[in-house]
Amino acid sequence: MTAPLLSAKNLRAFYGPTQILFDLNFDMHEGGITTLLGANGAGKTTTLRALSGMVKTGGEIRFEGKVISNKDTADIVRLGVAHVPEGRGTFVRQTVEENLQLGGITQPAGQISADMERVFAYFPRLKERFRQQAGTLSGGEQQMLAIGRALMLRPKIMLLDEPSFGLAPLIVQEMFSILRTLNEKEKVSMFLVEQNASLALDLADHAYLLETGRVVMSGPAKELSQDESIRRAYLGY
C-alpha cells in the first residue's frame, strides 16, 4: 500500500470559539474518489475549508506526505489542490474566458490556451459562452465553469463541494459522468462532499459518514450503500 495522497489526523476546526470538527481521521489515495456524506450542518463544507486552509484548524493535514495544515490557502492551491467551493466561486464580473485564465493564473502562460481547449472538450457549452460575463450564466453552466476553472490548475486533487446543488436532474447526471471521466482520463483524485448520497456513493470508491463534526462510519462506497442504517437515513429506501 502506498502512502495516502491526502490525509487528516485528529483534524479539528473552529469558527471563532465554536468547534465544528472533532478529531477527524481520514486517508485518501491517489487516483481515488472519496466522498464525505452527512446531513446539513454536519461539517462537510467546513472539512473542505479546513483542507484548503480557509478556517482555523488543529491536528494535522498532509498532502503528498508534507504537512499543509495552517499554510496559506494560495500556497495549498499551488501544490495542486483545486477547491470548487460551495456557491461555485464564480468571478461574476469577469468573462468566461477570464474565469478560465484565472484558474490557470499560477501556471506558465504558454500552456493556458491548450488547457482551455482541454476544458472545452469536456464542456463545449463554455466555448459558446466564451466572451459572456460569467454572472449571466445559468447555474449548470456556472458549475461547469467552476470545474473547468479547477481543471486549469492541472490539479492533483479536486475538492468538490456539492456539485449537484441546485441543478436539474439531467444536468446532474451529465456532471457526474464528466467527473468520472476526469478521474479516469486526467487522473484527478477527488474528494467529494454531497447531500445526494446515492449519487455520491455511486461515483466514489470510498466513503465517510459525518455526523455533527465526527466521523461515525467509513468504508468502501459499495459497502456503505448496502448498509441498512445508511440506506434508511440517507438513501431513503
Partner: protein, 291 residues
C-alpha cells in the same frame, strides 16, 4: 460660447489631477473597503521627494520616474507594515489609522522640508497654448501625462495576467485565493500603484498650487468628489468623475456674483446631488451581500 469651451478645456486640466486622486482612492477602496484619507498627503510627500531629487541636481524626468518608483515602494510598505496586521480590525480602527497617517506624513514633510511655500518647476513651460492665458503649456502637459498614465493603467488591468489577478483579488478575494492568488500581496501592490499614481498627480499639480505640506487638502476633497460621483466601485467611473468635477468647478466660476468663491461648495453640492439620485455613483455597482 467660445468662453464655455475654453473653460471646459481649462477644467479638464485640473480635472486630470482630480481623476488621478480619485482613481488612487478607488484602487485602495477596492482592496480594503475603506477610503484612504491620507491619499493626498502621500501624494504631497512624493512631490517633496521629487523636489528634493531635483534640488540634488537630477534632471526633471529622471527625478519624476525615480519618485514614482520610490512612491510605489513606500505605498507597498505602508500596506505591509501598517495595514496588514490590522486587516481584520473594525472600520473605526482603520479610520483612526488613516487619520494618524495623515497627521504623521503631513508633519514629517513639514519637519524635513519646512512649512514655507516652495515653487515647483514645470517641464512644459508656462506659455499659453490656447486662448489668451486659458490653457497653459503646463495645463496641456498635465492632460497629456495623466492621459498616458490612465491609458497604460487601462492596458495593464485589461490585458496582463497580473492585472487580471489584481481585479480578481479585489472583486472576490475568497475565490481568488482558491485559484492560488496571494490576495494580501496583490493588495500591497494596489497600495503601491495608488501611491505612484498620487505621485504623478502631486508632481503635475505642484507648479499650479505650489509646494507646501497642505497643498493636497483641497485637491483630495475634489478627488473624493470625483470618486463618489463616478462610483467607488468603478475605476473608470472615478476617472470620469474626476474630470467631471474639474469641468463643473471651472464652469461654476461663470455663475454671476458668487461663482468664483463658491467653487468648492458647488463641487460638494454635486456629490450630494449624485448620491441622492444614484447612491452608488454614476457607474457604481450595488453591493448585495448575502447573509
Amino acid at each position: 460660447m467660445e468662453q464655455v469651451v475654453q473653460q471646459v478645456i481649462g477644467g479638464l486640466a485640473t480635472g486630470a489631477i482630480y481623476a488621478c486622486i480619485a482613481l488612487a482612492i478607488v484602487m485602495i477602496y477596492q482592496a480594503i473597503d475603506h477610503l484612504n484619507f491620507a491619499q493626498g498627503e502621500m501624494a504631497m510627500f512624493s512631490t517633496y521627494i521629487a523636489w528634493q531629487l531635483m534640488e540634488w541636481g537630477m534632471p526633471y524626468w529622471f527625478a519624476f520616474f525615480l519618485t514614482v518608483a520610490i512612491s510605489f515602494v513606500l505605498g507597498y510598505a505602508i500596506e505591509r507594515i501598517v495595514f496588514k496586521p490590522v486587516h481584520n480590525a473594525s472600520v473605526l480602527s482603520h479610520v483612526v489609522i488613516f487619520i494618524a497617517l495623515f497627521a504623521i506624513i503631513n508633519s514629517m514633510a513639514g519637519f524635513i522640508w519646512e512649512f514655507t511655500i516652495k515653487p515647483f518647476p514645470t517641464p512644459f513651460g508656462t506659455k499659453s497654448v490656447l486662448g489668451d492665458g486659458l490653457l497653459s503649456a503646463h495645463g496641456a502637459g498635465m492632460i497629456a501625462v495623466t492621459g498616458i498614465m490612465l491609458a497604460l493603467l487601462y492596458l495593464f488591468f485589461r490585458f496582463t495576467r497580473v492585472g487580471l489577478a489584481m481585479r480578481a483579488a479585489a472583486a472576490n478575494p475568497d475565490s481568488a485565493r482558491l485559484v492560488g492568488i496571494r490576495v494580501g500581496f496583490m493588495n500591497a501592490v494596489g497600495w503601491g500603484m495608488a501611491a505612484a499614481i498620487g505621485a504623478v498627480a502631486g508632481i503635475m499639480i505642484a507648479p499650479v498650487v505650489f509646494l507646501e505640506p497642505n497643498m493636497m487638502v483641497t485637491i483630495l476633497l475634489y478627488g473624493f468628489a470625483g470618486a463618489v460621483v463616478g462610483g467607488l466601485t468603478s475605476p473608470g467611473g472615478a476617472v470620469f468623475g474626476g474630470f467631471a468635477v474639474g469641468v463643473v468647478e471651472n464652469l461654476a466660476s461663470f455663475v454671476p456674483h458668487f461663482g468664483a468663491e463658491m467653487k468648492l461648495t458647488i463641487a460638494l453640492a454635486l456629490i450630494i446631488l449624485v448620491l441622492t439620485l444614484k447612491p452608488n455613483g454614476l457607474f457604481g455597482r450595488r453591493i448585495v451581500s448575502r447573509v
